[in-house]
Every structure is written in C-alpha cells, then in structure tokens.
Symmetry: D2
Subunit: 452 residues, 4 copies
Amino acid sequence: MSVNTSFFGELLTSITEQGRALIEGRRARSSEEPLSALCEKLLSGHGEASGVAIAEEVLATYRRLQAPERLAFFRTLYETFGADTARVAGLARRLADNPEDPVLLRELHSASEPRRQELIRRLNLAPGGTSGLVAMRADLLQCLGEAPELIEVDRDFEHLFSSWFNRGFLVMRRIDWATPANILEKIIQYEAVHEIKGWGDLRRRIGLEDRRLYAFFHPALVDDLLIFVEVALTQEIPGAIGPILAEERAQITAREANTAVFYSISNCQTGLRGISFGNFLIKQVVEELRRELPNLKTFVTLSPVPGFARWLTRDLADGEGVAARLLDPADRTALETGSWLGDEAQGEALAAPMSTLCAHYLTQEKARGNRPLDPVARFHIGNGARLERIHWNADLSDNGLRQSHGLMVNYLYDLKDIERNHESFAATGAVAASSQVGKLLRQLPDPKQTRS
Amino acid sequence: MSVNTSFFGELLTSITEQGRALIEGRRARSSEEPLSALCEKLLSGHGEASGVAIAEEVLATYRRLQAPERLAFFRTLYETFGADTARVAGLARRLADNPEDPVLLRELHSASEPRRQELIRRLNLAPGGTSGLVAMRADLLQCLGEAPELIEVDRDFEHLFSSWFNRGFLVMRRIDWATPANILEKIIQYEAVHEIKGWGDLRRRIGLEDRRLYAFFHPALVDDLLIFVEVALTQEIPGAIGPILAEERAQITAREANTAVFYSISNCQTGLRGISFGNFLIKQVVEELRRELPNLKTFVTLSPVPGFARWLTRDLADGEGVAARLLDPADRTALETGSWLGDEAQGEALAAPMSTLCAHYLTQEKARGNRPLDPVARFHIGNGARLERIHWNADLSDNGLRQSHGLMVNYLYDLKDIERNHESFAATGAVAASSQVGKLLRQLPDPKQTRS
Amino acid sequence: MSVNTSFFGELLTSITEQGRALIEGRRARSSEEPLSALCEKLLSGHGEASGVAIAEEVLATYRRLQAPERLAFFRTLYETFGADTARVAGLARRLADNPEDPVLLRELHSASEPRRQELIRRLNLAPGGTSGLVAMRADLLQCLGEAPELIEVDRDFEHLFSSWFNRGFLVMRRIDWATPANILEKIIQYEAVHEIKGWGDLRRRIGLEDRRLYAFFHPALVDDLLIFVEVALTQEIPGAIGPILAEERAQITAREANTAVFYSISNCQTGLRGISFGNFLIKQVVEELRRELPNLKTFVTLSPVPGFARWLTRDLADGEGVAARLLDPADRTALETGSWLGDEAQGEALAAPMSTLCAHYLTQEKARGNRPLDPVARFHIGNGARLERIHWNADLSDNGLRQSHGLMVNYLYDLKDIERNHESFAATGAVAASSQVGKLLRQLPDPKQTRS
Amino acid sequence: MSVNTSFFGELLTSITEQGRALIEGRRARSSEEPLSALCEKLLSGHGEASGVAIAEEVLATYRRLQAPERLAFFRTLYETFGADTARVAGLARRLADNPEDPVLLRELHSASEPRRQELIRRLNLAPGGTSGLVAMRADLLQCLGEAPELIEVDRDFEHLFSSWFNRGFLVMRRIDWATPANILEKIIQYEAVHEIKGWGDLRRRIGLEDRRLYAFFHPALVDDLLIFVEVALTQEIPGAIGPILAEERAQITAREANTAVFYSISNCQTGLRGISFGNFLIKQVVEELRRELPNLKTFVTLSPVPGFARWLTRDLADGEGVAARLLDPADRTALETGSWLGDEAQGEALAAPMSTLCAHYLTQEKARGNRPLDPVARFHIGNGARLERIHWNADLSDNGLRQSHGLMVNYLYDLKDIERNHESFAATGAVAASSQVGKLLRQLPDPKQTRS
C-alpha cells in the first residue's frame, strides 16, 4: 500500500467538516424577505459579490416553509423564472430565416434556457447547497400530482442533476461492519426490496465473508448514499430469497464462491429520480468482484417481478389472454384464496403454468417504447442482462405473494454479451432470454385453446 | 476532534485510487476507429450499455493525436456535433407563433443544445474523464487563434465546466510543509506571479508560522489544484514584495499578526479559463483566517499592476494624455533607460508623479463594459475590494520593472463594504478607493498643462 | 484545519491492515512441537533469525490449547522459565560483600530477571502479538485460583504491560454515532456499569449533543478498546441515574451545559487488570471538555457504591457497629424485604440514616493500606477527587438495590484540588469530602447508643 | 478496498495532533526547581496524581540545560537514582541461603532495579515524552567518552527502549513522491550511505517505478523515522553504485524486474543505538515486495566494505599477513597514491588480488565473539545473508576509495537459507559465501609465500 492517497482523502474530508459546520451553524438564518425577491437578488449583480450568503439565505428560508408555501414557491419558479419569451420569439424569428447561423443558434439556445437553471446553479454555491436542492426536488415531485405544469420546473432540476451526478463524479465504496453507524442506519432505512429487520439482520448482510454491500456516494452529499446493491456470494444460482436472508445458514469463504447474486438494489434519494446510477453500479461491482475474486464466474440477480400479479389479474379479467388459456377455474381460486400455500399438490400443479405465464409476462408484455411492462425487467434488460431463470415458490413474504404470487427470477449479467443484448433490445425490443426460459415460452398454448 | 469525518474522507480516497489505477492501466487502449465514429457511437444507444468503455476509448485515442489532428477533431465537433438545425428551425417557426408555450419553449431549448454537450457529458463517464476534458479544452483554446469559429465549441466546454466546477463542489485546503511533495511540486510549477525558486523558497512560503497558502481542489481532478493564494501575516500593510519573500527576515507568531496580505494568486488550469474561483477563494480564506486568528483586522493584497507600463507608453506616445502632463522629458528618459534605478534623487523625483499616474490608470482607464483596463484591478475591484495604497519602488524584479516600473498596490478586502463596493461598481463603474488614493488623484494637473 | 496529520494517520493505518491480514492469514499455522520447546527455540539463537515466525507459531499453537493444557503451559512458564537460580545465588553472594559495586548490581538485576520476560518480549514480535499476549494473561488470571503460585508469572506480564501500555502510548478518542459499528458493538458488550440495551440505547448515549463517550486505544491492539467513560452534559449535579438514561428527556445544547457528569467508566480488557488508565482518562477528558466547552464549570461523577450493602449486612450482623445504632429493627426488615420501595413514608424515613451510613462507609471503612473499602471510592479518592454528595433513591435497578440499596454518590474532580487531596490521602488516608457529607457524618450517634 | 481501516487510522492521527499541540503549547513551561528534586517528586506520590504535568516539567527543564548541566544531570541519575543498595544487599544475603525461593528472587530482582527505570517510565507520561527521552539518550551517549561510568544509566535507557521499540510496535511504510515534504526532508538529512544531493536526487530515488524506499515508524515518535532502506528494482545483480544513482539511465517497469537491490540502509535516531530494526525491516520489505511483484526472484544488497582499507593498511604494515603475500610493492604504491585510478592496466592488475583480499577480509578476519570484523558484514551475515559477489571498481566516490579502495559487495537474502546460515554462523562463526567467493578464497597463496 502506497501513501499516495492520504492527502487527497483528507482533503476531501474538509468538505464534510466545513459542510457540517456551516450547515449546522447557519440553520437559523432564514430571511424575512420574500423568497422570490431573494432569488432575484441571487440572480442579479448582488449575487456575484455575496452569492454564497444569499444562496444560504434562500435555502434556509425555503426549509422553513410549509407544504402550501412550497407549492406556491414552485409556481413562482414556473411562472416568473422561465426564459424571456419576447426575446426568444425575436431570436426564433431571426433563426427561422438563418437556420445555419451558429451564433444565432447559440443565442437562441442560451436565451431559451429558463432562468431557473442559473438560479439552481447559484443556490449550489451555498455550503450544503447540493443536498438542499436534492431535498427541494423531492418536495417538487410530490407537487406534480396537484400541479402537473410544474413538470417544466422539474425538467430543469433533472437536467442539472444529470450533469452534477454524472457517473464520473460518483464514488463507489464497499459498506461493511466497520462502516460508521450513521451510514449503516441509512442502509437500514433505505432498503426498499427486502426489509432489514434491525442491526442483527444488517450485520448478517454486511459482516459475513459471503455477503457484500456496495454503494455510490457523491462528494457533495455529505454522509448520504445515492444507491446501493446487496450481494450474496454462493455456489449456485439461487432460486429463493429465504435461504439468502436466513438467520442460520451454512457460510462459505469468499474464495469458495463461484456466483455473485445481486439480491437487492435500492435507490436512496427521491430527489434524484430519473438520474440513472444502477446500471453503472452493477457493472462496477461486477468488475470489482472479478478483480478481487477470480473464482467468480456467474453474476446474476435474484429479482422480484413486481408487476406480475397485477398483470395476471387484468389478463384473467380480460378472458381472452394467455392466462385464461393456462389456468383453469380451480387454479384461479387457489391463487385468489392463497389455498395453494397450504396444499403441496396444488402448489406443484401451479408451478408450471405460473412459470410459463411469468416468462410470457416478462418477455412479451410491453409498455410504450416497446420496453418490458415490468419495471425491474425494464431495468435489467435495458442494461443488457438476460432473463435466465424463473422460480416458483421463491418469495413467500406478504409482499412477494401480493406482487408476484411468490415468483422470483434471475437476470444474468454476462459482460461479453451485454452490449449485444442491449443493441438487439434497442433495435427490436427483443428480450434476451435463456434456453430454459425459451422452453417455458414454448409451453404456451395456441390462442384458440382456453382452459375454463 | 470527533471521528465523524473519517469514513467520508476515506470514501473519497477511492476516487483517487480507482482513478489512478484505471488511468494508468488503460493508457494504452486507444482505438483504430476514427474518433468521430467513436463519438457517434458514444452518443448512440451503444453508449448506454458500454458508455464507460467507449468514453475511455475516445479519450485514449484523443491523447495520441498530434496537434493538427486535434485541430481537425475540434473542427469536426464544430461542424457535425452541433444542433439539428432543420429541427431547430421548424421549432423556431412554431414558437414565433406561440411565444408563451412552455413545452415548445423547452423543446426549442433542448433541440438547440449542440450535441457536443451531451458528448462531453458522456466522455465524463470515463475514469479520469474530467481531467481529460480539462486538458482537451486547454488544447482547444490554443486553436482559437487559427480557427476562431471554434469559440462555439469552447462555449460548450465552458458552459459545462461552469456547472461542474461550481463553487459548491470545490474544496479548500491549506497547503503546508507536511503536504505531499507531488502537490508541492505543482505549486512550484504553477506559481505565476512571484516565481518560486526551488524547494527552499517554497519552504519559506509555506513552512513558517507567518506564511500561509490555500488552494481549491475538485474531487474529480485527482491530485491537481485549481487555484491557490499565498498569504503573509504581518503587522502592517506592506509596501514592497522584497521583504515578504526575503530569505532572511524577522518572523512573527501567527497571533502577533494583525494583517493578512494576499501577495500572490495563481490559476493552475488553462483548461478552466473563464471559470471563476479566485473571488470565492479569497473570501473563504478571509473567513478561515478570521476564525483561526481573531487578531487579524486587515485583509489586503500586495498586487502587481501588470498593464501600467504598457498603458503609460501608449499614453505618452499619444502626447495628449495625463502622462504627458506629469512627466517631463527627463523623467521619460529616466524611465526608458532605467537610469533612476541607480540614481536615488531621480528615483525620488519620480515617486510622486508615477504614483499619481498609477492611481489615474487604475481608477480612470477603462476597458469595455466600463471595467478597469488593468486585469488585476478588474478582478479585485469586481470582487468588491477597494484600491487602498500605491507603492513606488515596490517590485524591482525584471518583471516588476517591465510591467509597472516597479509599482505595486494594495487592494483592501473589508467584508462589510464588499457588497456596497461591488454594487456601486456594477451600477456606475466607480472604482472604490481610499482617501490616500483620492489625494493622489487630486494631484492630477488640469488637462491644459503639459510638462514637455 | 491543516494537512499535517494525514500521513501519520494513514501510516498507522498500516498496522491495522498488516495486522489483520497476517492474523487472519496465519491463524492456521500452529505447530506439532511442544510449546515449551518452541519457547526455548524463540529464546535461543534461532529466535534472532526467525523470531517473527517462531513467535507466530507459539501464539497460534497456544490458541489451540484447551484450558487444562493452558494451565500446564503456565506451570511450565513458572517452573522452567524463571531465572538461573544458581547464577543468581552466586552473584548474590558476591554482592553481599560488595554492595556498592554498580556492575555487580546490574548483573544481579539482569540475572534475576525471569527468562519469561524476554520470552514475552519476543512473542510480541509476531503480528498481533500484543493482542495475543493480553488474551493469554486473561487466561492466566483465571488460573490463579487453582494455582496461586502462578502469581509470579502474572507479575512478569504485569511488569511488561505497565511499560507497553504506558500512558504515553495511549490515544484518546471520542466515540460518537459516526464511529464504525464494529467499535460500537464492543462498547455495548463492554459496558459494565449501566447495561446498554441495544443500538437505540447506545445512540442515546453517543448520538445526542449532551452526551459524550471517550475511550483510550493502543496502536497495537487493533480495533479494540482499553477503557471508556460515558459523560452527560447537564445543568446541575444529578442525583439519580434514571433521568440520565431515560429514553424521553429534555435535551440541551452542549453550550448550555455547566456540568459534566461521568456516569459510567468501564475497563475493557481483563488481560490488562492492574494497569491503570482510568485516572488518566478522566483527567484528559476533563481537559478536552474544558477546552471545547468553556462554560463547563463542574466535573463530577455519578457513581455506584458497590460494596455498601454487603458491608451493611456485615455491620448489622456484628451488632456493635454504627449501623446497629442508626437502624431500628423495622428499618432492617424494610431493607431486607424491600418493602420500603412500595411505601413512600418508609422510604423517606430511611433516607437520612442510610445516607449517613453511606457517608460513614465511604469515608471511615478502610481496607489494607488505609484505603477506602469501597472499590469505586478507592479509585476516585485515590485520583484526588472529593466525595461530594450522597443520594438516596438514586438507582432502583436490580443491581443498584442489591449492591447499595439504591444509593449513589457524586465524586467531584476539581483540578485545582486534585493534587492536594491526593497528597493528604496518601499521607493520612483522609478521604476528601464536601461540607454536605461532613454534616451527614456529624449525624452519627455516639458509639454507646444502639437503636434496637 | 474495504473501509475497515479508517477509524483506526484517524484514531491514531490524534496522537500526532495532541502530541504536536501539547509539545508546542508547552515548550515554555520549564521549572525553577532543581531537576533532581522534580525527578524525586515524579517518583513520589505526587507523581501519581500529577504525573503528566511533572513529567512535562522535567522534560521542558531538561531541554533548556546546556551541555555541562546535562552531564551533571546524568551524573545525578547515576549516583542517586540507582537501587537501594542496602536493601539489595540484605536480600542478596537472604537469597544466598534460599536460592530457590521464588518470592525472594522476585523481590531481589525488583529491589535491584535502578530507580531510574521507573523515572524513565514516568517521564514517558508526558505528551511527546518518548521523543524527549530518545533525544535525552542521544545526549547521554555523547557523554560516555567523558564519563564512562554513565554506561550504567545508558543500560537502563536501552533496556526500556528495547521493550518500547519492540518490532511488534513498529509500522512499515513505503515512502514515495506523494509523501509529505516534512518526512522527505528527513530522508535527505538522515541518508548515511550514499548522500542525497537535493530534491531532484531524492525524486529519482522514490518517484520512479523501479525505485523504492521503505521505512519503520513508531506511533509515539510523531512524524519521525527510525530506519529506512532504499531499493532498486533491476534485471541483474549490480556490480557498482554509479549506475544505480545515475541521473540519466534506462528505466524499467516494476513488473520487468527480477532482482531487488538494497543499496542503502540508514538508521535515523542516535538515541536508539543498539536497538535493532534493520534485520526486521529488510525481511519485511522482502516479503512485501514478493507479494506485490511475484517476478522478483533475487534479493540482494549492494554494500560498502567500510573497514577494508583500514584492515589492509594494518595487515600490510604487519608484513606477515595475507596482504603482503598478494600485493607486491608496486601494487602497494599504486594503492597508496591512487595512481591505478588513471591507469587502466594497473587497475586491472589489482582487480584479482584485491578481490581475493576482500573475500579473505570479510570471511576470515574476526572481531570478538567470532563475528566478522567488518561492521556491514557483521550485520548481514548475522541476519542470515550470504556473501555473494565482490566487485572491484564499484564505488569510486571519495568515501568509497578511502574506505575500501572502491570495492563493493553483494549479500544475498535467500529466505529459505536464512535460518540455516544464521544457525551455522551462530554455532561456528562460519560466514556463508557463494561458490564465486569460494573460488576467490582458493586464490589465497600459502602462508609461506610473500610477494615483496
């Protein structure tokens, strides 16, 4: 180990210290001036001389607002912090006549930028500004239902956040049992897929040799996480979540593992919705694990199928879909009442048709843009992964049964196929799938037959 | 001292390690494909699946180009990575009719964004990408003389860099004798005002109790500096640079000082030209020093007047300006030949008229936008500082004599006046000045008189 | 914040990494050779060439031993790794004739050093050796009951540990909610006075602004603690532990506090018994808190009286002591049955006599060396603190009732009196006490009276 | 990279900060009391309550003493801080009669410990105490010439330092160009074998891929080094120092190297004379390099032969030794005058006899204890290395010519032979040597022949 990194590490520590000190020390200083006036001041010449102070004032004042006042503030951003429409119209007219004039083009682009964007950039001057802006956008997203026109304001946040949270600025770190408790506490709170039931459960997920957790951080978001993924190191592709999370189980050493299973991935910041990290995180974790543990050959998820049950209900209601052809009335009753859970024979009888339906759902049912209807499939298939296996009886938690009748699936990340899969998906919408899934799909009956 | 910060510090250290490892490990992998084709690939769907890899390839390939090829590449960026002009023109026509339509406005703004911007954002996916892009812009700036139209490409870099190098993302650190040598080496190399003559000279500037050096860093620019300022702690406002830099001098303890003198400020990255940090750095250093050393009451620069001699020559040549009125032919000869340097009486005789002329030059001579002609004055006056004192015989180095006949000045940063000074400057172009400078200005003869 | 410290910090990090790697990697390598033969080898010339490897082998082999084998090993240390008695006797005879000969004196000192000491020093060559030796001594202490002669072996451990764990080598750190979980877990496990009931309880003790925890660490004991003290910042001297530990309570800011209460101090390493740290820790925490929070004026403990109930029982049984004079049969029954807990009047009636008895117990009842019988009093009074207040109804936990009938006391650390108190205690055994305690003592009846 | 280590690293950083702050802040506080009285106070009961403060006072007062006062202080340590001789004599008489009584043995050992030892341990309570004590011993060593009896005092320092600077407490770190300048400055200052000529020379020794420098640190010696070794990575065993240190030379990558050359090893602390680190440092560097660069197969020194020229002069003067047999008068004159340096033929003629004589000197000429006369040979051979090669014309620096007529040698560290070499050396004094050296030795003429 070389000493190269200490200066830089400590250097960056300053962000935190300065950030915290300032955030805490200055919490109180909000302003009596109306927020919009403060914002105008920040955009004016004053902002150049005292930008940091005014930005702090705006953010502190905003933090004290109640929900209705926040909505009003966003409306002001929408109405009075847009572009100068008269100027844009004038330039637009000139450009219509000189469509190739580069200077005109640039002026038009610049004039059509909503003033909000510069406002947001200047708010970022404040210590802790980035964090305050991410929180502000989270509030804004909640207002969209009531005030859909605010989507225009949201686009400006999204545009800037895409630039600021560019993958080049993110830092990946492994989280383990020697990580500070204030970070770990957030892991417990943010886990969105398989709830972490206290510190003992957390320790089992990060403190054992065959379990890993990796997260993305951003230097300006002091002590907070962007996204994290939980990994189990195993000796085979797992078919159920229970054994992964079990309190008592046989452990292996990291070197004995040949398979890395991504069994949970959680976004942490509502205010960063739409900024994609997951794709990069999974791929970087794959690279990191391959480097550290050359014995690992298979990288695979163990994923929920969150939209399956809803789709199935709809498809059955429709009466003409594939579901109706595969499930007879007794099957449907068993699914509705959950009676199969206590009846082994019934459960086994459902395994084949339900797996086939799941294969159909994930590969054939599409949302707009020819992308998979299922959001998790959309994510992994979009990343270039392949639908590898489908497991019946895989997640019998309340949530698992409600969302997918207990089904789970594996998506396989094979680095050498990722680009080809992605391209073919982008071109044709084709969902890459294993031969095992192909076999299931061939079980689908002709449209003519119905089992009712 | 609390332990709060270690995780974060170490977390960020990862950037460096990962960054270095990858940069070094992958230096070689450039591509045989033409750069423009690679760039198109990065912007296409492929970029989504394999963005990091393609971005690395583009940057590695670029690094291997010779100057003429680089110019050609920038031309390609200009010609084929702009906006879709047909689409923009269509939208412009529609907007001309509906100037208030927010969706149309946004579409136009978005369509008029040159494709280069997204390209630059995607290049930043590569490890070390930010650093590579800053270097690329430094090359680009060198091409502007030959190909002025590339200013359009430069605007795109500048726009994104302004956002990425936002003050909220910068980290200030003190540099001292316990700083790693690889950073210190860069300080020696980057110092642009008063050359550092080796490690002994450097040690005298950072290793003594009454000397400080502060710098801004950015997390994504591994081990490199953005800007730094050198500070001397003194017991009076200094009137010459020699005693500040002297090898042998009486030291004081930090607590004994009442004055902090900013005697050198150096930008380090050509590729970040136009992105302003200096303003923020000086103000943050003032705050930091006030917190640490409450005895400090005065914050002042000791600055060169780099444009003075050139202006004086012009003004004298003109024959009608103020210079002609204050300097008689003997004075001019003494200045031209430098004879006053060896002739004390002659030197003293020049002190008054030269100081007056310098006061005139700094406060009255303006560039476009009603801003001071002198670049250093432009910077400090624009920041809200006040021209405080003018010193004859202050910098007798070759450079000092050539640029300003040995004159130096102090600009005073008084936090409580900064905003007012800045505003009044912004409104009227008025240069804030002390009563001492006011007195000098009142020495200016009537326009009618000429001393020739 | 200066950058001075990063290199050193990171430098020391190496211990940990190297330590962990080696400890883990080498766990397995124990030896088939008898331990005593290995120890002889380590002390011989082989030890010079391959000391590290042999030391590791000894420690690994030791770790695999069962309790009876460990006892046997300690017996070997006692019997065959002492001094060369023949040589010592020879030197002793010569010295008896030349008692002032400095060389002879040194030779005798050196020859009379048990070979165990050099053995222990050489075992410390192994990575993780210090930690292994501390664990070994913990085992040894358990054997003393069965084999009291091993006290001679223990003395050698104690002698070396006193030198190695000299205060000059200890590092004090504040522990808070941003401390790594693996350290915090140990805090939960080691707390010996007021049990920590899970992570929520821990967070209340370290994660709030008016609570602190400080610990001593030693560089060679990777990730482990030596001792820690818990502090509450308050606005008055507290009279009961309940409000300090309450889940719901009014918090104050650190600046509002004028009193720091040391309410729990726990030694963490059985193997370091007899090596005193607590004294230094409390004093250093006092200094640290005074520097950080100048408003703090009072530094006081809230301490149990662990030997009180046992002493009272004995004193009552004796029938002639002070207890018999102050407590009538009804009081005794109330205490024995605990009936006063549910009977307010009875409780109040006991307050005065029980406080007086406690004051008597702490100031008058002595163990050998004229030191207080109560171990906690012995510690604080020995450190120069003063017995300040006695509280009835202060700790109604099972443990508190069993040990001290619910009484607690405050010892006051007043830096300016510490040395005087200590001296007077050292000279005369006098226990420093406040006037309030003095008043209680004056309540003690004449020896003639008995309340029965 | 895991996050395990940050807490610990930062934890230890505290030593430095606290250490520096205290050392600096308290520099002034020396005492008017005589040092010996202060020392008595520190050893008395006062020391228990106020040990830290008194220890600081002693060290501060000592630092202000002039050389003669220091000598006087050491004499006091010798005379009045020894053991209680009367008590020792009494115990010695008792033990003479009961030589096996373990308690008596321990009491004698304990009573015969000079009080100085406890004094030194208590001085170590002061912040920065270890560092102050190491400096004190450096002073003491200088007094030994004048006052040889002080060796008894020195033995006490040495005994304690051996324990405190036990290999288990040392930390090895690589030093490179990213190491803080204040550490690097000490490397320049401490290099004792091949002088470092400024920062450029240093950079060539630590900033290039085929050069390494490793050092041992101790946590209590803030920012200071104990010992360091410089390593060149090469593709063959080098036969001269010039090419290693050359300003211009062909570099290789670390992976291309098969040989690691230890070409300089320097002890940094006079006050730690006699405490051996070098042995451990070399072996740990070998392990570290093997782990990092598996291509390295050969670990070898390039060492001076500092005692050769002196021995040769003596041996020639003697007239009966081996030198006289191998060198004829012309050879001797050439050596004395250095004429061979400008005369290639003469130089070549000397190569064989001088190499043979050097082989003889290193393997046959012994000091007491049957150890090599040459101090460098004594060190490496004692560590278990083997004399591998002898090079004529290898170090033509002034120092090289004066000490060894320009000869240098390689000692080979072959981990698998180290123990055997060491043992055989310990048993018989046999110097392990390569067959090449064996051949040279066989060139030695019969004792009868003399070439004069």
